[in-house]
Symmetry: C2
Amino acid sequence: MTQIDKFTDVDKLAVSTIRLLAVDQVASANSGHPGAPLGMAPAAHVLFTQMRMNPKNPDWINRDRFVLSNGHAVALLYSMLHLSGYNYSIEDLKQFRHLNSKTPGHPEFELEGVEVTTGPLGQGISSAVGLAIAQANLAATYNKPDFVLSDNYTYVFLGDGCLEEGISSEASSLAGHLRLGNLIAIYDDNKITIDGATNVSFEEDVAKRYEAYGWEVLYVENGNEDLNGIYNAIQQAKLSKDKPTLIKMSTTIGFGSLAAGSHAVHGSPLKPDDIKQLRTKFGFDPNTSFTVPQEVYDLYQRKVVTPGQQAEDDWNKLFASYEKKYPDYAACLSRRLRGELPEGWESKLPTYTPADSAIATRKTSEIALDAIHSIPEVLGGSADLTPSNLTRWKEAVDFQPPSTGLGDYSGKYIRFGVREHAMGAIINGISAYGANYKPYAGTFLNFVSYAAGALRLSALSGHPVIWVATHDSIGVGEDGPTHQPIETLAHFRALPNVHVWRPADGNETSAAYKVALSSKTSPSILALSRQNLPQLEGSSIEKASKGGYILNDVSNPDIIFVATGSEVSLAVETSKQLAAKNIKARVVSMPDMLTFDRQPEDYRLSVLPDSVPILSVEVLTTFGWGKYAHQSFGLDRFGASGPAPSVFKKFEFVPEGLASRAEKTIAFYKGKEVISPLRKPF
Amino acid sequence: MTQIDKFTDVDKLAVSTIRLLAVDQVASANSGHPGAPLGMAPAAHVLFTQMRMNPKNPDWINRDRFVLSNGHAVALLYSMLHLSGYNYSIEDLKQFRHLNSKTPGHPEFELEGVEVTTGPLGQGISSAVGLAIAQANLAATYNKPDFVLSDNYTYVFLGDGCLEEGISSEASSLAGHLRLGNLIAIYDDNKITIDGATNVSFEEDVAKRYEAYGWEVLYVENGNEDLNGIYNAIQQAKLSKDKPTLIKMSTTIGFGSLAAGSHAVHGSPLKPDDIKQLRTKFGFDPNTSFTVPQEVYDLYQRKVVTPGQQAEDDWNKLFASYEKKYPDYAACLSRRLRGELPEGWESKLPTYTPADSAIATRKTSEIALDAIHSIPEVLGGSADLTPSNLTRWKEAVDFQPPSTGLGDYSGKYIRFGVREHAMGAIINGISAYGANYKPYAGTFLNFVSYAAGALRLSALSGHPVIWVATHDSIGVGEDGPTHQPIETLAHFRALPNVHVWRPADGNETSAAYKVALSSKTSPSILALSRQNLPQLEGSSIEKASKGGYILNDVSNPDIIFVATGSEVSLAVETSKQLAAKNIKARVVSMPDMLTFDRQPEDYRLSVLPDSVPILSVEVLTTFGWGKYAHQSFGLDRFGASGPAPSVFKKFEFVPEGLASRAEKTIAFYKGKEVISPLRKPF
């Protein structure tokens, strides 16, 4: 490849400007991380001035994506977004890390120009794999001869911390397998971590590791100054069409600072004297701050803003022709870009009556997926548990590189491998890509915990991803306590903005899919049984879509059971036994607390009213049920290995066990004033 | 190295016996995983017949450790433990996966001969790194010229699943850095996962990856049959003194079965006909089961049981001489082997009075660690956040390979790198090693979630490890919601058997260390503040060691605040403001719910009695507080980026905000019957 000397003194000035803007932000906040921005400013400048994006329309679908996986270097990102013409003013930069500003301490998804939330290390590079998967799928689905609607790249900055996190290993190994040539990561090899030199804990040969994953590895020896070297590496990476690329770039952390090359510049503001000498060194007035020379603005106008607007204009023209030649595809893509699901899609969801046979909810989940898989934006897979999770519909095509003969990029079934954490970050990335992608991920409920870090970012970012989490209790049986979730539902119910569904039957499973797929801003976990469950009298998609409802009512109940999943049929069975003793029990099914919480108060109080003791029934931890129940029957210990029915019996989750607890509860509250737990002083 | 032909027909018979015992167990349970045992039986036989262990004393400190990282292959392990003379009878094997048997569905730590609990993939290999670290530390601490008290190896079996999990990447990279020559892993390269051929998601060059980590990589081409090849590889690995070794062994999953080499044999019992042909093929009567030829028992007696007993006898003699020559070291090690801490160690824990200055609990934690670091079994470190977690005492020596010049294996400060999940598994392994090791791990509270999978096994196994989890709330400030825990305390409180401490001041921090280090069977998380907190009037180590106590009392309170950590001083401050309005508030500090739950009922009811409304105050999720409080003031949403005081104010965690909520709570319960939430019908 021809090596081109593309860069002038204005570019060098731009790099210095970027460096100082980052330093100024950190100084203004008196908090933040100046070291990485000082080292990576040249790469940021070179990268952004060759990226394709329209800062006036940050959502344009065919823009290149940029992910700052080392999210603590966010001052660098805000500098770039400001210069590139996104809606970040110098005043916004001055508000860095101030409360309610547009420039918080780490990149957050809802901010213009931020593709995914980062900061928790390893998440960015892993979500970037999701962005790249989405692009490959969109291209394979909609591109036609002479109509390349999708061809964007995903670029990532990452540091040692991201490489040390296991999630990045998982995601990078999968990216290599998937031959994602549209993914280009620049590794800031600055030899410094918070604890000091990287060699106190990190001596591995990163390049060799990435080659082992099947990546192309390129080198930039002097990332501090060699703009042409960085440019050439990026261009070469773009030519690597069947491999992702890692560019290993050597830099000096805190370049230019008096403390350059030491961990002192990683996470603390530079001292005022240091800033002054830095400004002087870079040819800026030492007594000013937040300075952007006009020729730098002009350069960004010329290299980023104008060509970005032109690129989108061209794309819009292309799409107009595409609409004429491929009206069905165009209509489909347009619908997706509007964020709408196909009209009437919910009507395809299966419904059940009590006459239907008892089947596991992992199976009703499979039936639901099979019914709706034709929605093009629904795609997903399993962490190597496909035959157990039942996440693959009949005749699914795998999302695989065509060269492997195992599938195609237009395929929608993803073989994630045993990589739960990366899977969580990847579906975040797929969702973040846009085009209404609705990704799902399958594993055992117990191992969703491996992905807690990623799911937290789904919730914080509002990615409406779906976890198909089967084997949801001691119903796992023989695999035993290592595989039987106890704390898992409580964990994710305590996480804001997460739907934690535990359907009791087929109708409730369909309701979970209906609400989950309709959601624009909340992730969902579907906790599904391994064992068969009966189809309940009184359940329906409509009722379950309220999150909690009266399944089985009686007049003047003595007690209310509020149950989920496999314990709903237990409560129904028990209520029949109690009726024989003239004890009247209402059965409430509560498949999703978050959805229930979002119903009007009068509805909620009609389900869980005053004056009747409420007993929750769920064969996992009781922790958190105090929100809805006066007393809880659960499992506040680890489970046991054995056939599922014998394990349920051991813990007394049988009608006799529940009935005796109901009677004790009624006796305890007899003559006492009973207030619904929903009633609160504030 | 000379290649020795060590094995005879009896060894081949033993391998067939092992294979069939595993198949019989799975058949008897009608559940389990026959595939991996059939493939790995030769390696298991070769390995066990050269390992040093005394099955009559499974706890002998200098035994070799064996970890079955692919824990689903547990039927293989039970076969080996039976043959090797551990307390597993044929009857026990017949009870495989039956309720209350000694042979549950995955290896569990409390079982004889099981070194760490496995099954959740990646945990075993990572805990093995901890076992190896502990051995290196023990040897460097107690070995003397001519007195090699510790020189055992740690052996691991693992499969593709473990290698795909990021946790194993983290642990393996660190093991390479640490040059743990005492660690030998045998990788069962059988090309099959649950989803089918490994190449649907896993094509990386594993050997190259491990070389990149700094491991020695050896190969066994025919793991199905080549006993000598396996033996020679193990012997060669033992010579690799400054590198861990990965032996890449090719096997056929389900070797001998009609479905050999397919994923059909991974996780389902073999069909009866298949078992019959297998028995015939191996020269066994097809109509019997659980058959062990006497010559196989004899072989194990000769190769395992007798030399194992001899090895411990020799060691005991060596130790007797050591006691004479190095009485102090011997006394120290003896004490540790008895599982006792140094007498009076608690008296070193610092105490505070209200006259002492306000300091962050991460700082009082540092002071506590500094006071007790001379306890030799206390060792630990941080996931690259040492200057933030304050986990390193003055003059600590790093646990590092001496050749790096960065420390020594007798050092007790571990630089884990940014590898939270592996860190969790590694401290499990260190704890499991014995010798009373009390490991701790530092990171931000929010990132303990990355290690949820490992912490779950700490709790299930009862490893009394300690997490030093700083930056415990929105008090993080500018780093923002990506770093501010909300759900984290609820998550781990919902996990059985975990102490979740959130100390309010220095005395409570000392109490947390006292209880945590004294614990024999429960892990602890210490959630510590970034920001300064005052030393409270009324706190003490003794009181806080009850988990919850009355910090500040009044006669006939109108309301009880139950608070933790930084909110205790807020409650105290608020109670003073309320007193001015003639509203009387008791303040209860509840630093650890688990410890409180373990107090007698009358004590608990004296703290949280009937007739007074109880309001919990904690600036994280309210989820779960219903167990102790009628109403909760918390943060059921994500936090915000900004200076900590302004973030607290935004969410009204200031005296005015709490006072107004207290008044509403009192008004709500006025005239109503108030029962303590501790009173329960069952």
